[in-house]
């Protein structure tokens, strides 16, 4: 482990991952009660990716996210009370209840939005990176996208455009093996999604997306290069989702016992804990303390969300234009 993360950072990494996990496990439970409307896609299992990447970013940096956006939001510092309220459709939500799970955004934090359109993020992040280039502020853009999204024309075009314009972009491919019910083995004819980078003259690398440190290091290198004007990188993180494609998915396309097995063998939080405790970097207690803090925070977020008011009828008509 070549990484030189100090204790604060290690605790932060753990806290972020735990927050994502707890947030998602809780949304899963609450969704089942029928209180949460719409389509909800959970990020549980993929925590190391968002966390390992976003720890290199500051507020000047931008990320573009996907339909499975809660983890990216949390890792980029979006307020979890506002997120939870948004998922409940409440007026206090990040988007005033108008967006919901699929559209949580906080541009002030550099989070340019979850997105209901597969492959919509990569073009947008090219623009964010272009803006950074014009501003000369060393900012970078990260587009997260799935294995399924890696087949969308918009994604390919963006890989190319980012090379043509030499943009400071990290393409973060989250290969969780599935696009809805369809396996990556069907959709992607190469062993790795990162194999596509070479066709654009771009560095491409694949890491174990359940290993926070592997993601952290590879992302760090790519982001450093991007900031220095060295252009984009395609980083594929192989990971797993612990829930269905969306809440309500019976997952009959998955192998029997698959998720249980993954939760045992490939849990990013467990792997992290083992790594840091075995090396004496963090203690189990330190993490247990975080666990209960996180749990309390999520409890509070849910309670606040449930108690929060709905948008008013007048809200229906506002926020379409700045001026019309």
């Amino acid at each position: 482990m070549a990484t030189q993360l100090d204790k604060t950072n290690l605790l932060n990494a753990y806290r972020t991952m735990k927050q994502i996990r707890e947030f998602e496990e809780r949304v899963h439970v609450e969704f089942a009660t029928g209180d949460i409307p719409g389509f909800v896609h959970l990020y549980a299992g993929e925590e190391a990716v968002a966390t390992g990447v976003c720890m290199h970013l500051n507020q000047r940096d931008k990320i573009a996210s996907t339909h499975r956006g809660h983890g990216h939001c949390i890792a980029k510092g979006v307020d979890i009370d506002a997120m939870m309220a948004e998922i409940y459709g409440k007026r206090t939500g990040s988007c005033g209840g108008k967006g919901g799970s699929m559209h949580i955004a906080d541009i002030s934090k550099g989070m340019m939005g979850a997105n209901g359109i597969v492959g919509a993020g990569p073009p947008l992040i090219c623009g964010a990176a272009l803006a950074a280039k014009f501003k000369g502020d060393q900012g970078v853009g990260v587009a997260f996208f799935g294995d399924g999204a890696s087949n969308q024309g918009t994604t390919f075009e963006s890989l190319n455009l980012s090379m043509v314009w030499k943009l400071p972009v990290l393409f973060g491919a989250e290969n969780n093996g599935y696009a809805e019910s369809t396996g990556v083995k069907f959709n992607v004819p190469t062993a790795n999604i990162s194999d596509r980078a070479a066709g654009f003259g771009m560095p491409g690398i694949t890491v174990d997306g359940n290993d926070f440190f592997a993601v952290y290091e590879a992302a760090g290198e790519a982001i450093k290069r991007a900031r220095a004007g060295g252009g984009p990188t395609l980083l594929e993180c192989k990971t797993n989702r612990f829930f269905g494609h969306f809440e309500g998915d019976a997952m009959t396309y998955r192998a029997k016992g698959e998720v249980k097995d993954l939760r045992e063998r490939c849990d990013a939080l467990k792997i992290f804990s083992t790594q840091v405790t075995s090396r004496g970097l963090l203690s189990q207690e330190e993490m247990t303390t975080i666990d209960s803090e996180v749990k309390a925070a999520i409890d509070k977020a849910v309670a606040l969300a449930k108690a929060a008011p709905n948008p008013t009828a007048a809200d229906l008509l506002t926020d379409v234009y700045i001026a019309y």
Binding site: K98, G100, H103, G148, K185, F186, Y253, R254, E258, L317
Partner: protein
């Protein structure tokens, strides 16, 4: 014909019967089988809401999963159609048209004209429309006015299971490109549907209720709401005629104009955006060709010029409901 079928099952049955009848009918779409390349069961999904489930066990390779590459596979469906197949491609939500629209309006729609009448493109594109799912702005749109705008496309909006089966069979047999819009909030709706295959002709509106005072033209899910409103209005002594055009292109102008000639009043109810939308289209038709019989302003009942909101209370306000339809009717009969 006492058998009842859901809207979803009616669609599934139409496809299955046509696939049995005609080997050139094939099905493709994201997760239309469900499970390709995955370790578990095949036919796991049958499309995101299960409409094509059960076709793969019956028809094997003629039902295909696709990568998330709408331009490529919708384009492939169109290309295959011009080479003698009759593909039924699923564009999961119509909201996704933006990544593949070129293949639909510049290719499929125009081949015949651009090539001087020498092309046939018997493709069907099935796609989900509409609100009520709390699915927010990118999964709740109607957008069929955009397709209706394009010469060369046929546009079908079934308002119930009976229409769904008959219109889809016609769509599959039709030799022009057809876009088939399925309102996702209707999938569970049941009604009597004949078991044997039948085709409902395009360009023939259905008169769902006869009335003397006001013509209500409504599309898709709004047909139900128009009928509810008409019922309520009848209890208040207001007698409405309800017309379901069933296809927006071709459009049965005659039935609409005849109805307005009788009633002298028109309310158009549509869930699509109002500007350059279906409600405007029908209103303009009547303002031009039925003006002499019009005795009152045409009223359009649509959502506001606003994207669909996520919050349920807002979405309910957003979508036209029977109360708004009633109010619209009352505003022109009083």
């Amino acid at each position: 014909m006492a058998r009842k079928l859901s809207f979803k099952d009616a669609i599934n049955e139409a496809i299955a019967q046509e696939m049995e009848r005609d080997q050139s009918v094939i099905v493709m779409g994201e997760d239309n089988v469900g499970g390709a390349g995955s370790p578990g069961e095949m036919d796991a999904w049958g499309g995101v809401l299960g409409v094509t489930k059960g076709l793969y066990p019956k028809f094997g390779e003629r039902v295909m999963d696709t990568p998330i590459s709408e331009s490529a596979f919708i384009g492939a469906a169109i290309g295959a159609a011009s080479c003698g197949m009759r593909p039924i491609a699923e564009l999961m939500f119509v909201d996704f048209m933006g990544v593949c629209f070129d293949q639909i309006y510049n290719q499929a729609a125009k081949f015949r004209y651009m090539f001087g009448g020498k092309a046939e493109t018997p493709v069907v594109i099935r796609t989900m429309i509409g609100g009520g799912f709390r699915a927010a702005a990118q999964h709740s749109q109607c957008l069929y006015p955009i397709f209706t705008h394009i010469p060369g496309l046929k546009c079908v909006i079934p308002s119930g299971p009976y229409e769904a089966k008959g219109l889809l069979i016609q769509a599959i047999r039709d030799n022009d490109p057809v876009i088939f819009f399925e309102h996702k909030a209707m999938y569970a709706l049941k009604a009597e549907v004949p078991e044997e295959p039948y085709a409902l002709p395009f360009g023939e509106a259905k008169l769902l209720r006869s009335g003397e005072q006001v013509t209500i033209v409504a599309f898709g899910l709004m047909v139900q709401r128009a009928l509810q409103a008409a019922e309520a209005l009848a209890n208040n002594g207001i007698d409405c005629e309800v017309v379901d055009p069933r296809t927006t292109s071709p459009l049965d102008e005659t039935t609409i104009l005849q109805s307005v000639a009788k009633t002298g009043r028109l309310v158009v109810v549509d869930e699509a955006y109002p500007r350059c939308g279906m409600a405007a289209d029908i209103s303009a038709l009547v303002a031009q060709k039925g003006f002499e019989s019009l005795q009152a302003p045409v009223i359009m009942v649509t959502p506001p010029h606003v994207p669909p909101p996520f919050n349920g209370a807002l979405e309910d306000l957003y979508m036209p409901d029977s109360a708004r339809i009633e109010a619209a009717v009352q505003s022109i009969v009083k």
